[in-house]
């Protein structure tokens, strides 16, 4: 046995030293810029085999980093990247994102109607050209305590209900808490709040502040707060991920997309102007839209894919894709005042 072990060990040492001394020979390369979990190595491996290419994946964890990397003049160039619809606009503005040839992405035909109808998603098409293909999304529905509600609440207005004062949880988000308030007020476009309506919307944001226990930032934090404080309703900024987390703590909760519809972010794949082989980049997008590959995303990451309706969501549920807002800085300034506790009279 010990002898075998020795042999094996030498074999291993031999192999390891050999493998570091051997260099890979060059072939076509695809450089991908993506979010964690969007390009697992086995999926990359399958793509590499199928197209006989090498894929380099770079992972980013914030919008800012992505913007910096795609704007870097020299050094790493990327062929294809994943970006949400709101962020996409500035990439199109700057010419970083380039139009796609849909015929090279035949799998887009298999996407659910709400995704395959690209014109229904604001920001994907500009001047008649398609700039990105939806890949994954997360809607921000309403989590409620089943013991408190015999019927699922049909409106987000329940969060403003005085009966639940101190038992409501809200996410601490500067930009879209205004969108959310605008949505609850029935404004036509929650992402473009006219100046005339800002006062009203701000009052609505303050009214919500007065009705909540507190704001949360992370899903783990929300789960803890929900369980410790007998929370009745909660705005689920992280959607199904939060539902899953709560259910794991045995919380008796329900999840619903109220009639107003739910805000949702939508991540898409887009090709950059640096793509050496644009068709290969499109093959990549097409590959990710294969049933099994998309399914793997949902199974492994708990993120919804664009081919299958996730549990708890139906085709009739209204999703409102996040868009660029009329003035980010203005909302941020207002938000800082709101969260600091300024009274309505000060605005």
């Amino acid at each position: 046995m010990s002898n075998t072990y020795k042999n094996m060990r030498w074999f291993v040492i031999f192999l390891s030293s050999a493998c570091f001394s051997l260099a890979a020979y060059s072939q076509d390369t695809l450089s991908v810029l993506a979010w964690p979990g969007y390009a697992d190595s086995d999926l990359v491996n399958i793509f590499e085999q199928r197209y006989q290419v090498k894929v380099n994946v770079t992972i980013v964890d914030s919008d800012d980093t992505m913007w910096t990397r795609l704007n870097a003049g020299k050094g790493d160039k990327f062929d294809v990247f994943a970006v949400n619809t709101a962020q996409l606009q500035r990439y199109i503005d700057k010419g970083i994102s380039v139009p796609l040839t849909l015929s090279n992405i035949p799998n887009s035909k298999k996407q659910l109607p709400r995704f395959s109808d690209l014109s229904s998603i604001p920001g994907l098409i500009r001047n008649g050209k398609i700039y990105a293909i939806p890949y994954t999304y997360s809607e921000m529905g309403l989590i409620y305590d089943r013991k408190e509600f015999s019927q699922p609440p049909d409106s987000f207005s329940v969060m403003w209900d005085k009966r639940y004062q101190g038992r409501v949880l809200m996410y601490a988000g500067s930009e879209h808490n205004f969108s959310f308030a605008a949505l609850s007020l029935g404004l036509k476009n929650p992402f473009q709040i006219p100046n005339s309506e800002f006062g009203l919307v701000t009052q609505q944001v303050i009214a919500l502040r007065r009705n909540i226990l507190t704001y949360y930032e992370k899903p783990e934090e929300a789960t803890l707060l929900f369980n410790e404080n007998h929370i009745a309703v909660m705005f689920a900024n992280y959607g199904s991920q939060q539902v899953k987390m709560l259910k794991e703590t045995q919380a008796n909760i329900g999840y619903v997309i109220p009639n107003e519809g739910a805000l949702a972010w939508l991540d898409c794949w887009s090709v950059t102007r640096d793509a050496k082989n644009k068709k290969l980049a499109e093959h990549w997008i097409n590959f990710l839209l294969e049933q099994k590959v998309s399914h793997a995303l949902s199974e492994r990451q708990g993120l919804a894919n664009t081919l299958e309706e996730p549990e708890g969501l139906t085709a009739s549920d209204k999703l409102i894709w996040l868009e660029r807002v009329e003035n980010m800085d203005k909302r941020k300034l207002l938000w800082d005042r709101v969260i600091s506790g300024e009274v309505p009279e000060e605005f």
């Binding site: 072990y5 094996m8 060990r9 074999f11 291993v12 031999f14 192999l15 390891s16 050999a18 493998c19 570091f20 051997l22 260099a23 890979a24 020979y25 072939q27 190595s41 086995d42 999926l43 491996n45 399958i46 085999q49 199928r50 090498k54 964890d61 914030s62 101190g166 502040r209 007065r210 909540i212 226990l213 507190t214 704001y215 099994k292 590959v293 399914h295 793997a296 800082d336 005042r337 969260i339 600091s340 506790g341 300024e342 009274v343 009279e345 000060e346």
Partner: protein
């Protein structure tokens, strides 16, 4: 004495005085330097240890100060919350307004006492936690915030959590960066909030007192008594930096990033994850990479909010702490230098005093050895040196007397030694010759040894031995390595007689013949010219006489000068002749015995004894010789009848013919022997290593013998036929001895006899069954291939990590009519040996390509690749490339879908040829995979050179991957290597979900094995495809 006198004229170059000085100085320097070094190091270590401990103590102290400052804040909130003034501040009456004003004064005085507080507030439970009284520190001023700017704070933990506390309890917030607008001096600072509830007389929480502490300020106060060199760190319980010399590394979580203390200072992990109280650190820090030491301590605080703690750390550059040792270094160096100098000085003086009288003595001794004159020294004291001087004088006198005696004795001794050496040398030579006899050396070698041995003893002489033929008349052999060839050749065949040189005369007269001068001696008249040509001047020759009195030859000694032998020489010649006689007689006897003992006199074949000897040798070699051997027993059935009817002469004639026929049927290296009567035995050596192949080879030879022996014999005028029977057994390592082998071959032979003769049987029935089965399989396989009906390809799916079927491996199945499905294990080896592998391989490739063509027609299967195994023999065919390409083009398939699997052994056999062929096929799109990868110990250099696409990890590694860490390591390494070579990896023999999981974790994403499916017939494979 001789050795001394050769040197004593030279002056003393490197005298004791210098040596002594150097040694003493060195000792002095080393002693003081090492003492200095040791002291310095020990002190430095002690100081460094002390400093490290000091750092921990300092952090603990800092922690205690922090703890008490936090407690102080807690006490302040507690006390404030219980004051009547706070109670009175609630309400809308004017008294309440006055109370609130007074409270704000209280808050102000608190803020002026504690510079680290930047905000003190009373917050009401009503009106969404609206602030009631609030005093802020703002640009050095204390500001009472006006009513209209008071904010609603109930959604902050310091309000909604503190309101739930009991009277006297205190809430500590997490340490965070303050973003609350209107926080003034505290905005953007690391902040700790301390809050305590205000409870009314009904026990209801009606408000909270909150103090905000600026931690930066707090710590700058805490460490105000420390040097600037000390760096402070504060982290929360998960290790996020809250205070750090580089501000950019603090509060990472506030910006979605993470800067953890345990990543910078690894020992701190013990505090965070193992509950350690304090740790020390020592490492290089900062951009300047300064070696620093430090301590980290965990400080628990706020028991009411669970086991929360913070970690406080301090670091300081080690040089700063050890600056004391630097002074020490300088002082130490000075002391060492001083001591060393002193050492050198003392050494010089000591050496001079000590050496002067010694120098005088040296001069005296030197004079004595040069001239043998004794000098008396007078001015020596009665110390050791005086004694030495006297002793030297008397010693010199004694030496002179002894020297003369010694010279005489020496001459005598030398003579004796020379004689003794001569005797010993002869004895040695004699013994050596006898040893050679014992070692079975041939006669010529032994005689040459004798000749050379005597030449070695008698330097000026050249010796020869001449042997006489059996008739006793002629010289037949000359053994004289140092005589010229022409001389030796001239003597060969010469008839002995008087006047035929010294040797001819000696052999004839059987007497010693001494010829002192060849040129003048009558015995040499006919040969003196020859001798002159060989430059020989004298020759003494002694006949070699056997024990029975026969003359065997002569021993002669030649000299290049005219010479007469001494008595010793004559003794030596005679003794040598006797030794030669013994050697020759012994060798002649041996040769005679040999012939009788080992060969059959009738057929001249080896007899039983020799056969046994060789058989035993062969059996002994079994253990390390891989080539197999076999024993054949041959019996002539009708021999006895022949002997009876035609007589023994005819019988003998037949046996001789049988012997020569058998010999003609086997190789030179095989042994044919006659045991006696009509029994012959053949031993075949060097058969194949595989049993089946060896059996088959033995079978071929056996049949050849059988046929040859069955043909008509012409015995004088008679024609005769006999019936041979042959029994064969293979020699194996299991055989205990030759008898066992004989017995088995004998049994097999009787089996042949039983069948009526003219037959051949193997001892092992299994072996025979194997042979029959093999022949049958070969025949049937040949038919199956030509008809193609019984053969079928099965397909084992190859799956990727998404459970997508990416392809299959084609595996052959042979469905026989009578024996069902025959395993490829059984027939592939036979196909390889018989060459059937070539048509079989073609059939497999053609069928596989047709299958690929039919898969290409359907969408669900169009992407599939098909792996086909290719053997070394197939690859070795010169037209291999053309053959494959023609099959591919006939099937009209995409060559990229065809994957040829080769084994590592193919590469070992003919690497260059293989590379050329693979490259040619690769250029046409065909893919290559290495099968059973990892089992061969072959060079990895080839991997780089081969146009490969895939490595297939052998199933033996997968089998135990769950339990055997070695297998896991191998698999991991294979995968890493494949990645760096850009090769795909597939694991075969995947049987459990756990194996698949391990493989996926290691980066292998392609699998084949029973976990997914066994090999399937094509229809079932297509069904499988539909289902997956």
């Amino acid at each position: 004495m001789a050795a001394v006198s050769s040197n004593n004229n030279e002056p003393v170059k490197f005298g004791i005085a210098i040596k002594l000085t150097i040694l003493l100085s060195l000792f002095g320097i080393l002693a003081s330097a090492s003492t200095g070094y040791f002291t310095f190091n020990a002190t430095r270590d002690i100081l460094s240890d002390k400093a490290t401990q000091g750092m921990i103590d300092a952090t603990k102290l800092l922690g205690r100060r922090f703890y008490s400052m936090a407690n102080e804040a807690a006490n302040q909130t507690r006390v404030l919350a219980n004051t009547k003034l706070v109670d009175a501040s609630f309400g809308h009456e004017s008294s309440s307004i006055i109370a609130r004003e007074s409270l704000s004064d209280n808050f102000k005085s608190l803020l002026s006492v504690y510079p680290e507080y930047f905000q003190v507030r009373l917050i009401g439970a009503q009106e969404y936690g609206r602030e009631m009284v609030r005093v802020d520190r703002d640009e050095g001023q204390l500001v009472v915030v006006p009513q209209t700017h008071l904010q609603e704070k109930q959604h902050y933990p310091y309000v909604y959590k503190a309101l739930k506390l009991n009277k006297g309890e205190v809430f500590f917030s997490k340490i965070f960066i303050n973003h609350e607008r209107g926080a003034h001096a505290g905005l953007g600072q690391p902040t700790l909030q301390v809050a305590s509830p205000v409870i009314d007389d009904k026990g209801k929480a009606i408000g909270v007192i909150v103090i905000n502490v600026d931690l930066n300020l707090m710590f700058s106060i805490l460490k105000s008594d420390m040097s600037e060199e000390y760096q402070l760190y504060l982290t929360n319980e998960t290790g996020d930096f809250l205070i750090h010399p580089n501000r950019l590394e603090t509060f990472g979580f506030d910006r979605g990033r993470q800067f953890l203390v345990q990543e910078t200072f690894q020992p701190v992990d013990q505090i965070i994850n193992s509950g350690a109280q304090a740790v020390s650190v020592r490492q290089r820090l900062g951009v300047d990479n300064i070696e620093s030491i430090g301590g980290f301590t965990s400080i628990p605080f706020s028991q009411s909010t669970g086991n929360r703690f913070v970690i406080i750390g301090l670091t300081v550059p080690i040089d700063f702490v050890l600056s004391e040792t630097n002074t020490l270094t300088e002082t130490g160096l000075r002391v060492v230098l001083g001591l060393s100098f002193l050492g050198i000085l003392i050494s010089l003086i000591v050496a001079r005093i000590f050496v002067r009288p010694l120098k005088n003595l040296v001069a005296v001794v030197r004079r004595f050895s040069e001239t043998n004159q004794v000098t008396r020294l007078t001015n020596y004291k009665q110390d050791e040196l005086g004694l030495l001087a006297n002793s030297i004088v008397s010693m010199q006198e004694g030496i002179l007397t002894h020297l003369n005696n010694l010279n005489d004795q020496n001459t005598q001794l030398n003579h004796e030694i020379h004689e003794r050496e001569k005797i010993e040398a002869y004895d040695k030579f004699h013994t050596h010759t006898l040893e050679l006899l014992g070692q079975n050396k041939n006669l010529n070698d032994i005689l040459a040894t004798i000749v050379l041995g005597i030449e070695g003893l008698k330097e000026k002489f050249i010796c020869s031995i001449l042997l006489i033929d059996k008739s006793g008349k002629k010289f037949v052999r000359v053994i004289a390595p140092n005589l010229p060839d022409f001389y030796n050749e001239a003597l060969e065949g010469v008839e002995i007689g008087i006047g035929v040189g010294s040797c001819g005369t000696a052999a004839f007269t059987k007497e010693l013949v001494i010829v002192e001068d060849i040129q003048t001696h009558p015995f040499w008249n006919d040969y003196k010219v020859l001798a002159a040509q060989a430059n020989l001047a004298s020759c003494w020759s002694q006949p070699i006489i056997s024990s029975s009195g026969l003359t065997l030859g002569t021993f002669a000694m030649y000299c290049r000068e005219v010479a007469a032998p001494s008595a010793d020489d004559i003794e030596l010649i005679k003794r040598t002749a006797r030794l030669t006689s013994v050697s020759i007689e012994r060798k002649y006897a041996e040769e005679e015995v040999n012939n009788l003992a080992f060969f059959d006199s009738l057929t001249l074949l080896p007899n039983r004894r020799l056969l046994l000897d060789r058989l035993n040798q062969e059996l002994a070699a079994r253990a390390h010789n891989k080539k197999l051997a076999a024993l054949l027993f041959i019996d002539l059935d009708k021999f006895k009848a022949l002997n009876d009817s035609l007589g023994h002469d005819m019988g003998d004639l037949l046996l001789q013919q049988v012997a020569s026929r058998i010999k003609a049927s086997v190789r030179e290296s095989d042994t044919v022997s006659r045991l006696g009567g009509d029994e012959f035995v053949v031993m075949l050596k060097g058969l194949s290593e595989q049993v089946i192949a060896a059996v088959s080879e033995a079978d071929v030879v056996g049949n050849k013998i059988l046929h040859s022996l069955s043909e008509t014999y012409q015995l004088a005028s008679h024609q005769y036929l006999i019936t041979p029977s042959i029994g064969i057994t293979l020699l194996s390592a299991n055989h205990q001895n030759a008898d066992e082998v004989f017995k088995q071959a004998d049994i097999a032979m009787y089996q042949s006899k039983k069948t009526g003769g003219c037959a051949l049987s193997f001892y092992d029935p299994d072996m025979q069954a194997h042979l029959i089965s093999r022949i049958r399989i070969e025949t049937e396989l040949r038919e199956a291939i030509s008809k193609g009906k019984q053969l079928e390809l099965y397909y084992q799916p190859q799956i990727n990590s998404l459970d997508i079927v990416t392809g299959a491996e084609a595996l052959i199945r042979w469905n026989t009519l009578d024996r069902g499905i025959v395993s490829p294990v059984e027939f592939i080896a036979i196909a390889e040996e018989s060459g059937l592998i070539l048509p079989l391989g073609d059939w497999v490739l053609e069928t596989a390509c047709q299958q690929l063509a039919s898969w290409a027609l359907e969408e669900k299967s169009a992407h599939l690749t098909l792996a086909v195994n290719v053997s070394a023999r197939q690859m070795g065919v010169p037209a291999f490339v053309e053959n494959i390409l023609s099959i591919v083009s006939q099937a009209n398939i995409n060559p990229e879908k065809l994957k040829l699997e080769i084994t590592e052994s193919i590469l070992l056999e003919n690497m260059e040829d293989t590379i050329i062929k693979m490259t040619a096929l690769k250029a046409r799109g065909i893919k290559f995979s290495i099968d059973d990868f990892g089992t061969g110990y072959s060079s990895l250099q080839y991997l780089k050179r081969l146009p490969l696409d895939q490595l297939k990890i052998d199933k033996s590694f997968i089998q135990d991957i769950e339990n055997d860490p070695n297998d896991r390591a191998i698999v991991r390494t294979i995968i890493a290597m494949a990645n760096s070579l850009n090769l795909e990896v597939i694991a075969e023999g995947v049987e459990t979900e756990k194996q698949r999981e391990l493989l996926i974790n290691k980066g292998c994403f392609n699998y084949q094995g029973y976990l997914f499916s066994k090999p399937l017939p094509v229809t079932m494979f297509n069904q499988y495809l539909t289902m997956h």
